[in-house]
């Protein structure tokens, strides 16, 4: 019993470490990809004394800027912790914490791999907590992140921060609707009649063993992706921090480590969001559509499936960055129009279409 608990804690710590490292390196990827897109080089100077003097590998690592996240993190850690005089101190400190916790919590129900038990031949999903409400938990906890933005903007006592937080909360609420409705077809498919169902993402991945949902429901995938961009406050929907009209948006008044928390949670959101998207529409840790998984049974196969899942997530992160440095920002009214007048009706129509299609399909089969 105690051993089991310890193993769970170990797995949780490991996952947090992986996600935080990925968040740090996403920041680097953001800088590198943006500079490549703009014909620049990006960070290529940071060097550690011994590691960077290894022949061939050292200069390569330095050129790719792989030590940069370390330097950035240390900078945030050692900067003076400034508390502006005009803020509401309690909520000002609370906001970055509230933003980070939901972003980190949602990954509990994210299945990041699968393992075939060598004795029984059964498939064990690798997940921290395989709870029945799965996707609902992600939506419920993930949308708590908006409180961090709202409280941060309000506690800053700054009109730019306040405007940024009001905008972003309005935006997140409007896109959550379309997002939730767009995944219902996926859940319908994952829970066919006559089977014990659940909203867990494990079911969704099992249902994608041969055919990925992305092929079967491209509209749902597209809607979910657009809403994901809006949920994570990324360009072209980065209303919360539109630098050009709101200085820095909701985190204008934040500096040093508190700003670092906002920053990390933004990238954690992206990573977990990408993971959810991959699990819902791109087969999670399954190998390729129409192909059986080549992972061997036992722990090695589990590691392979996890690496494959991470590779998919990294591709998604690249897409996020790529889109950010391609598209200009929408105007605020355009964002609202798109959310309420276009995405919501389309997602409802999409849902109705798939409900009818599944019903007709069931009738035809029986």
């Amino acid at each position: 019993m105690i051993l089991e608990v310890l193993l769970h804690v170990l797995a949780a710590v490991l996952m947090i470490t992986v996600v935080m490292t990925m968040a740090g390196y996403s920041v680097l990827a953001e800088r590198k990809v943006s500079s490549w897109i703009q014909g620049r080089v990006g960070p290529n100077r940071t060097a550690l004394p011994i590691l960077s003097s290894i022949p061939i590998v050292g200069p390569l690592i330095v050129g790719l800027g792989l030590f940069q996240p370390l330097a950035d993190g240390l900078k945030f850690l050692f900067k003076e912790e400034v508390m502006p005089g005009h803020v509401n101190k309690f909520y000002y400190v609370l906001a970055p914490i509230i933003t980070l916790i939901p972003a980190m919590t949602t990954m509990v129900v994210l299945p990041f791999g699968q393992m075939i038990d060598p004795e029984s031949g059964q498939r064990i999903p690798l997940i921290l907590a395989n709870i029945d409400i799965g996707i609902l938990f992600i939506f419920a906890v993930g949308s708590l992140g908006v409180y961090g933005v709202v409280i941060g903007g309000w506690a800053s006592n700054n009109k730019y921060s306040f405007l940024g937080s009001v905008r972003s909360s309005a935006q997140m609420i409007s896109y959550e609707l379309a997002m939730g409705i767009s995944v219902i077809p996926v859940l319908l498919l994952a829970n066919p009649p006559g089977m014990e169902g659940g909203l867990s993402l494990v079911n969704v991945i099992t249902s994608q063993d041969s055919l990925w949902n992305f092929v079967l429901m491209p509209i749902s995938a597209l809607l979910f992706l657009i809403c994901l961009f809006a949920e994570t406050n990324r360009t072209p929907f980065d209303m919360a921090e539109s630098e050009t009209d709101l200085v820095g948006g909701f985190h204008t008044e934040y500096g040093s480590f508190k700003f670092g928390l906002f920053f990390v949670s933004e990238y954690t959101h992206i990573i977990v969001g990408s993971g959810v998207f991959v699990a819902l529409f791109f087969g999670g840790s399954n190998f390729l559509p129409w192909l059986p998984n080549p992972w061997p049974s036992g722990i090695i196969g589990g590691v392979f499936s996890v690496l494959w899942f991470i590779a998919k997530v990294v591709c998604m992160i690249f897409l996020f960055i790529w889109v950010r440095w391609t598209l200009p920002r929408f105007r605020y009214d355009q964002v609202m129009n798109l959310g309420w007048k276009i995405l919501l009706p389309i997602s409802i129509a999409n849902l109705v279409f798939y409900i009818i299609a599944f019903a007709v399909y069931e009738k035809l089969i029986n």
Binding site: V33, W36, I37, Q38, G39, R40, V41, W322, V323, T326
Partner: protein
């Protein structure tokens, strides 16, 4: 068509244009092709830009290929300098140069204040002896005001030797050897 203006008819957006999606895909293609292109960054302190020959950098004094100081201390540059960055103290040429001593003059001291200099190049333009040149050195830095005051030694060190098209002094000597009186 008469005139240069041309009216472009704006057609209403088609359905595919209204979804933005084809445009977004096109934009993504453009940015991705940029990733594959070579970078334009110059790794500055290690790599230096190519400087054209007509570049106006730091003003310097030059010698001709025979090692002769070209400046004759006429002070035209001092006069023309708009920010009054040049200060010349005229003097005699040292006795070691037997030919030229008491014939030409030379600067005893030549100072250019780089905090005043505006790199306009008037001094180079006005110099009748082609003795002052704005060369390719563009990066001037120092810790004190005194470091920005380039004296004569520093100016010759920066300038070095320039190729000469005239060899004025050689011509003079040749004329003297051929029996003509020099303009003493």
């Amino acid at each position: 068509m008469a005139g240069k203006t041309r009216a472009i008819e704006r057609t209403p957006l088609s359905l595919s244009e209204k979804t933005y999606l084809p445009q977004i895909v096109n934009g993504l293609k453009t940015t991705f092709s940029n990733i594959l292109k070579p970078n334009v960054t110059l790794q500055y302190p290690e790599e230096r830009p190519v400087i054209s020959e007509s570049y106006r950098g730091v003003p310097t004094l030059v010698r001709d290929p025979n090692g002769r100081e070209k400046c004759v201390s006429c002070q035209l540059c001092e006069f023309v300098c708009p920010p009054k960055a040049i200060r010349i103290t005229p003097g005699e040429i040292s006795d070691s140069e037997e030919d030229r001593v008491h014939v030409e003059k030379g600067p005893k001291e030549f100072e250019i204040n780089m905090l005043r200099c505006i790199y306009c190049g008037f001094c180079q333009e006005v110099c009748p002896e082609e003795a002052i040149w704005l060369q390719e050195d563009y990066s001037v830095s120092g810790y004190s005001r005194e470091e920005f005051l380039n004296n004569k030694d520093r100016l010759y060190e920066l300038g070095g030797t320039m190729p000469d098209n005239h060899y004025k002094w050689d011509k003079k000597k040749e004329a003297e050897l051929n029996g003509h009186e020099g303009h003493h």
